[in-house]
């Protein structure tokens, strides 16, 4: 294990790739790796690119890679595509638009399937980003799956969230307001070669006027990702926002919030894994039949499992409360 980590830290691409697989497979050694590398993280600029399907996220990412490479920065990309809820498989095709960078040693591109995760990212995105950070990538770009409005996990990971919009979305903006519009630090109105760009831009700017927090007003850029128009300015805004985050009280608050959510997520993930393990070991034909025959119930079974995990805790809290509020229990 140590050998693998050392190789990765020394920049060995295959070792990095292998560790990311261990992470996404939920391999128990992943935590150990994270503990080991965590002190080395926090240096990279982490950018999230999100927006509706087909908005041009991958094309824009490709152009951002070019821009950062020109400035001598090394770049890591995590591109997330949805896994099929039926088969668990996935077609990962974002990198098609970035293939011209494959020969460049300063660029590492990794595709990940969501594997059941709902927030627009994949299981293990966070850890993969930390790993790339520790391994010395200056810039890390995360392309989320094409999102609706609830897939906003990206704010927990990225320093700067870019929302990509396109003309011709009409009323969608109203709908999106609630969700991903609020998470944007920088906007790209892409496909600016098409009619209707100005209207979208105007709508977005109008909406931004309602934002209360005036310390950072998200800039709105018109881009044509296909030929790179507007991308330089867009990249500049990203860098500016990153500086803002690193040097302002808002930034510090943001960092604390993010770290706190990081702890929560890890906690939940580990709890889930432990609980699932106990459940799997208990699951039996007989138990399932008892459940089906209503001899026992899922609530009791779940409490029993928790009791195994945390013997001291009080699991009947709810039941007592129910009793005192005069709801007659069945048995």
């Amino acid at each position: 294990m140590d050998i693998l980590i050392n190789k990765a830290l020394a920049g060995d691409m295959r070792a990095i790739a292998r560790i990311i697989s261990l992470i996404e497979n939920g391999d128990p050694i992943a935590d150990a790796v994270m503990r080991r590398i965590y002190p080395l993280t926090g240096k990279a600029m982490v950018i999230g690119i999100t927006g509706s399907p087909g908005a041009g996220k991958s094309t824009l990412t490709d152009k951002l890679i070019e821009s950062f490479r020109k400035k001598g920065k090394t770049v890591g990309i995590i591109a997330v595509d949805p896994s099929s809820p039926f088969s668990g498989g996935a077609i990962l095709a974002d990198r098609i638009r970035m293939q011209r960078h494959t020969g460049d040693e300063g660029v590492y591109i990794r595709s990940m399937g969501t594997r059941g995760s709902l927030g627009g990212l994949s299981r293990g995105t966070r850890e993969a980003v930390l790993l790339l950070d520790a391994c010395g990538k200056d810039v890390i770009i995360i392309e989320t799956v094409g999102v609706g409005q609830s897939e906003v996990d990206i704010i927990k990971i990225a320093d700067t969230v870019c929302v990509v919009l396109v003309p011709g979305m009409g009323d969608d903006i109203q709908i999106m307001k609630a969700g991903i519009m609020e998470i944007a630090n920088v906007f790209a109105i892409n496909k600016a070669d098409k009619p209707g760009v100005d209207r979208v831009a105007a709508e977005v700017r109008l909406m931004l006027e309602l934002v209360r927090d005036k310390s950072w007003t998200p800039p709105v850029h018109l881009t044509v990702a296909e030929n790179g128009t507007g991308v330089e300015e867009f990249a500049e805004s990203i860098v500016k926002h990153h500086e803002f985050i690193k040097n302002s009280p808002e930034g510090a608050r943001f960092e604390f919030r993010r770290l706190s959510s990081e702890v929560e997520d890890i906690l939940l993930k580990n709890l889930t894994r432990k609980a699932e393990k106990v459940w799997r070991s208990q699951k039996s034909g007989k138990l399932m039949e008892d459940l089906a025959a209503r001899k026992t119930n899922p609530y009791t079974v779940a409490s029993d499992i928790l009791r195994k995990l945390f013997p001291q805790a009080d699991y009947d809290e709810g039941i007592k409360e129910a009793n005192t509020s005069h709801v007659t229990p069945d048995n």
């Binding site: 087909g54 077609i91 095709a93 030929n227």
Partner: protein, 555 residues
């Protein structure tokens, strides 16, 4: 419909329903290869809505459902045009002269992939691909060899070339010049259909916008200078081969056509004029009745589109003239001889559908490029249909068939639905950008694959009636691996011998004009070709100015 018929039909149906209780039909429900429901029996009531004068009419008359000429094959057979080309210009020239001696009446040039994608044979991207699937053409020099002793005023030549169509057309014009044949005598076709390259065929170079401009430049140049040339072959063939259904083939092809007409009209060209030079290219698959209906529906739809949508009044510009090729993807590696039978059925469907020219695939289709023997059989297949089957002696013999007219209506309806959706999206370019068209085709391809694996569709020799076999002994065509080296050597010599300053200047002229939408690139490309600038050099300059396209994947 008279009551006697109605009663009789009801009685018939009742009788059938009864007998079905004892003897079930082979399947619960029947449908065409493209998934259109197919009834047990078609009768007069199924074509009640058809108005003969409005929907069918006479051959050579609007809406051309029955064909584009009044006498069709009683006057002249279709052009028997076998797509061929491999290795170097020398070898292909030999094959063409053989085909012409065998009674082929038009040439059809297959280029190798580097040529189709704008790379010279010495480009790193061309490694391993030179001359493999078509002839390698780097410069005018190769083109001169390709048509050596083939009089360009006598043959019509079709060239399957798209992204670099201007360059190859320019070379053809220059070869004509050297043979003393002026431009306005040349006849033939360039495929020049970039939209279906993005959708289904894959030999694109530039992004959509500049690509459309190259196409309309050709329209403009040819309508003034090469009036007998078919400036585009709007192709459904490849869309179908990529997996689409018959109705999708028609819909997406005509939607491409609409996009070209719109682009040319925007440039100020008159659809009554350039409309005459638009030609089409369709596929002929196995489902015989559906295929015949498809060709008839396509003709009627295009006439309606040109008339109603673009206000075209010139009948020649309303006519859909088309080339057909039999369906390569229906041909199997297993029991290759069976393919002769498939191709016969498909070719017959094309003839009954009123095609203007035809390529019949060879029995070794799924194994390698066709051998001379199998090409011979494929050509004979057409000759037998033409001279022996008798179907060519009367015009549009299947018209009025209840089922054929019904399916013609069904295809039209379904295809117009797709076209409506594409219109709603903002046209074909947007539909491609969104991956709408690709997605429909891929879904159809996957559905078909699954239905074969589940044996819902039967392919003789593949999932039923298999035999043990071994194709290792078959006589397949092998392409000489040294073509690449020979081409590279030729290029080196050429670049030493030509006037390199003239080449440089000609290329700079192209660069400057490329950046200016208002200029027509054709004359400048002809000029460069004449000074022996290579195809790769010309496309290289255009790549620099226009950028390159990346495909849009939606799986």
């Amino acid at each position: 419909m008279n009551t006697e018929y109605k009663e009789a039909r009801a009685k018939f149906e009742a009788g059938v329903a009864k007998s079905l209780q004892k003897h079930k039909e082979r399947k619960e429900s029947f449908s065409t290869g493209g998934g259109l429901p197919l009834g047990r029996l078609y009768g007069p009531d199924d074509v009640e809505s058809v108005d003969y004068m409005r929907d069918i009419g006479f051959p050579g008359e609007y809406p051309f459902t029955r064909g584009v000429q009044p006498t069709m094959y009683r006057g002249r057979f279709w052009t028997m045009r076998q797509y061929a080309g491999f290795a170097s210009a020398e070898e292909s020239n030999e094959r063409y002269r053989y085909l012409l001696s065998q009674g082929t009446t038009g040439l059809s040039v297959a280029f190798d992939l580097p040529t189709q994608i704008g790379y010279d044979s010495d480009d790193p991207m061309a490694q391993g691909e030179c001359g493999k699937v078509g002839v390698a053409i780097d410069s005018l020099q190769d083109m001169e060899i390709l048509f050596d002793q083939i009089p360009l005023d006598k043959v019509s030549t079709s060239m399957t070339i798209n992204a670099p169509a201007s360059v190859l057309l320019a070379m053809y014009i220059c070869v004509g010049e050297k043979q003393g044949v002026p431009m306005d005598v040349l006849s033939g076709t360039i495929q020049n259909d970039i939209l279906k390259e993005y959708i289904a065929r894959g030999t694109y170079i530039f992004p959509p916008k500049p690509s459309m401009r190259l196409i309309t430049d050709i329209f403009e140049f040819c309508s003034e200078n090469v009036p007998k040339w078919n400036t585009i072959s709007i192709s459904g063939y490849h869309i179908r081969e990529a997996g689409s259904t018959a109705a999708q083939e028609v819909a997406f092809t005509l939607a491409d056509g609409i996009a070209y007409v719109e682009a040319a009209a925007r440039k100020g060209l008159d659809p009554n004029v350039f409309g005459e030079r638009l030609s089409f290219f369709f596929n002929a698959h196995n489902d015989f009745l559906e295929e015949v209906a498809k060709f008839r529906a396509a003709r009627r739809m295009w006439a309606r589109i040109m008339k109603d949508r673009f206000g075209v009044t010139n009948p020649k510009a309303q006519m859909l003239r088309f080339h057909t090729q039999t369906g390569g993807s229906t041909l199997t590696a297993q029991q290759p001889e069976n393919n002769i039978v498939r191709v016969t059925m498909q070719a017959l469907a094309a003839v009954l559908g009123g095609t203007q020219s035809l390529h019949t695939n060879s029995m070794d289709e799924a194994l390698a490029l066709p051998s001379e023997k199998s090409v011979g059989i494929a050509l004979k297949t057409q000759q037998i249909i033409a001279y022996e089957s008798g179907v060519t002696n009367t015009v549009d013999p299947l018209a009025g068939s209840y089922v054929v007219e019904s399916l013609t209506n069904e295809i039209e309806k379904k295809a117009f639905e797709y076209i409506g959706q594409i219109d709603d999206m903002g046209g074909m370019l947007t539909a491609i950008e969104k991956g709408y068209v690709q997605k429909h085709i891929q879904d159809a391809a996957y559905d078909y694959q699954r239905s074969v694996e589940a044996k819902e569709s039967i392919v003789v020799g593949v999932n039923k009636f298999q035999v043990r076999e071994d194709n290792r002994e078959m006589n397949l065509l092998t392409v000489d691996a040294s073509v690449g080296e020979r081409q590279i050597a030729k290029l080196r010599k050429l670049k030493e011998a030509r006037d390199n300053l003239a080449v440089k200047n000609a290329l700079e002229d192209i660069r400057a004009a490329a950046a200016d939408d208002s200029r027509n690139l054709m004359p400048l490309i002809i000029n460069a070709v004449r000074s022996y600038a290579t195809e790769g050099e010309i496309c290289g300059v255009l790549r620099n100015v226009f950028g390159e396209y990346t495909e849009n994947i939606v799986l």
